[in-house]
C-alpha cells in the first residue's frame, strides 16, 4: 500500500512537472488582454481598371498576430489572395492577387481584409508598402493604398 501511494505521488509529480509549463502558458494567454480585429486594405487606382496588386503589411508597434486573410469587395478580387501561409501567426505578410478578366474595379476599392489577433494594451501601428498595382495590360499604374482599422471583440 505504501509503495502504491509513493508511486502515485511520483507519477502525479511527474505529470505536474511536464504539464505545468504548458498549462501556465495557456492560462497566461487567457489572462492577458487579447482581442481580434480586422484591417481593411483599400487601393485607389483612379480611372484605370485594377488587374493586379501586391503589397506588404508590417506591424511596427504592438503585439499583433495575423490570423487570416480575406478577399476584397469587388468580384474580381473576391477570392482569397495569395499569401505565404508562414505569415500566419506572424506580424508581417505579403499579399497579392490578379485577375485576367474584363470586369475590373476602378477607383477606391477594398482589395483585402486581414484578420488580426491583438494582445496587450498598446495600440498597433502598421506599415503598408504597395509594390504592384497593374492595369489589364500588365503595366504598373499609379495607385494609392490605405488601411482602415476595424474593431471586433
Amino acid at each position: 500500500m505504501k509503495r502504491y501511494v509513493i508511486l502515485s505521488l511520483i507519477l502525479t509529480g511527474l505529470a505536474i512537472m511536464l504539464l505545468a509549463p504548458r498549462i501556465g502558458h495557456a492560462s497566461r494567454v487567457i489572462e492577458s488582454k487579447v482581442r481580434f480585429a480586422p484591417v481593411d486594405i483599400y487601393l485607389d487606382s483612379g480611372s484605370r481598371p485594377l488587374a493586379a496588386y501586391q503589397f506588404e503589411l508590417k506591424v511596427t508597434q504592438g503585439k499583433v498576430k495575423i490570423v487570416g486573410v480575406e478577399g476584397g469587395e469587388h468580384e474580381a478580387f473576391r477570392e482569397a489572395p495569395y499569401y505565404d501561409p508562414a505569415a500566419l501567426a506572424k506580424d508581417r505578410i505579403i499579399i497579392a492577387a490578379f485577375n485576367t478578366g474584363q470586369d475590373l474595379p476602378t477607383g477606391r476599392t477594398r482589395i483585402a481584409r486581414v484578420h488580426l489577433q491583438i494582445g496587450g494594451d498598446v495600440e498597433p501601428e502598421y506599415e503598408l508598402n504597395l509594390t504592384v498595382a497593374a492595369a489589364a495590360d500588365g503595366q504598373n499604374c499609379p495607385a494609392e493604398i490605405a488601411l482602415e482599422r476595424g474593431e471586433r471583440e
Binding site: Y4, A15, Q54, Y82, P85, I93, A96, F98, T100, A134
Partner: protein
C-alpha cells in the same frame, strides 16, 4: 495450548475475575494435546490457501498505477507531438521546391519575382500565347494554372522580400 492462546487467556486487560477465566479455559480448552505436526499442516494449508490470492491482489494493486502511468505518459507524448509544429516538414519541402523555381519565375525579366510574373503567365496560358518549357515550375509536364499558382506563391514568400 499454544503460546498465543495462553497470551490471550492470561490477558489482564480483559478485566475478568480469575475464577471466570479459569472456567472459560476449562470450557474451551482442547480435550487432548494437539501435536506439532497438526499445527504445521494447518499453517501450511493456510499458506497455500491465502498465498496465491495475495499474489494476485499484489498484482492487482500494481496494475492500477502501472496503467495510470502508461496512460499519463501516452497522453503527455501525444499532446507534446500534436502541439509541436509537425506540419513544418511539408511546408519546408514546399518552400524548397518554390526556392528552386524562383530564378526562372521572373517571367517578365524585371529582376524580381512578383505577382506580375504570375499575371503574365496566366495571360499567356489563357490567350494560348507561346510558352517556354522552363515555365513548367511544378514539373508535371504541363504549363497550366498550377504553375501560375507556384509563381504567385514565390512572389508572396516572406523570406524573399518584396
Amino acid at each position: 495450548m499454544s503460546d498465543n492462546e495462553r497470551h490471550f487467556d492470561n490477558d489482564a486487560d480483559l478485566g475478568l475475575k480469575p475464577e471466570f477465566s479459569e472456567d472459560l479455559g476449562r470450557l474451551f480448552a482442547p480435550d487432548r494435546p494437539i501435536p506439532a505436526c497438526v499445527d504445521r499442516a494447518v499453517a501450511e494449508a493456510a499458506r497455500q490457501h491465502f498465498g496465491r490470492p495475495r499474489r494476485r491482489l499484489w498484482k492487482r494493486h500494481w496494475a492500477v498505477p502501472a496503467t495510470a502511468a502508461a496512460a499519463i505518459l501516452l497522453g503527455v507524448c501525444l499532446w507534446w507531438f500534436t502541439a509541436s509544429p509537425a506540419s513544418h516538414t511539408e511546408h519546408d519541402r514546399r518552400a524548397q521546391a518554390l526556392a528552386v523555381a524562383q530564378p526562372e519565375a521572373d517571367i517578365d525579366n524585371n529582376g524580381k519575382v512578383d505577382i506580375l510574373d504570375a499575371f503574365t503567365l496566366a495571360r499567356h496560358i489563357e490567350s494560348s500565347l507561346p510558352t517556354e518549357a522552363t515555365w513548367d515550375f511544378n514539373g508535371d509536364g504541363l504549363i497550366d494554372r498550377r504553375d501560375v499558382d507556384t509563381v504567385a506563391l514565390v512572389a508572396v514568400r516572406l523570406d524573399k522580400g518584396v
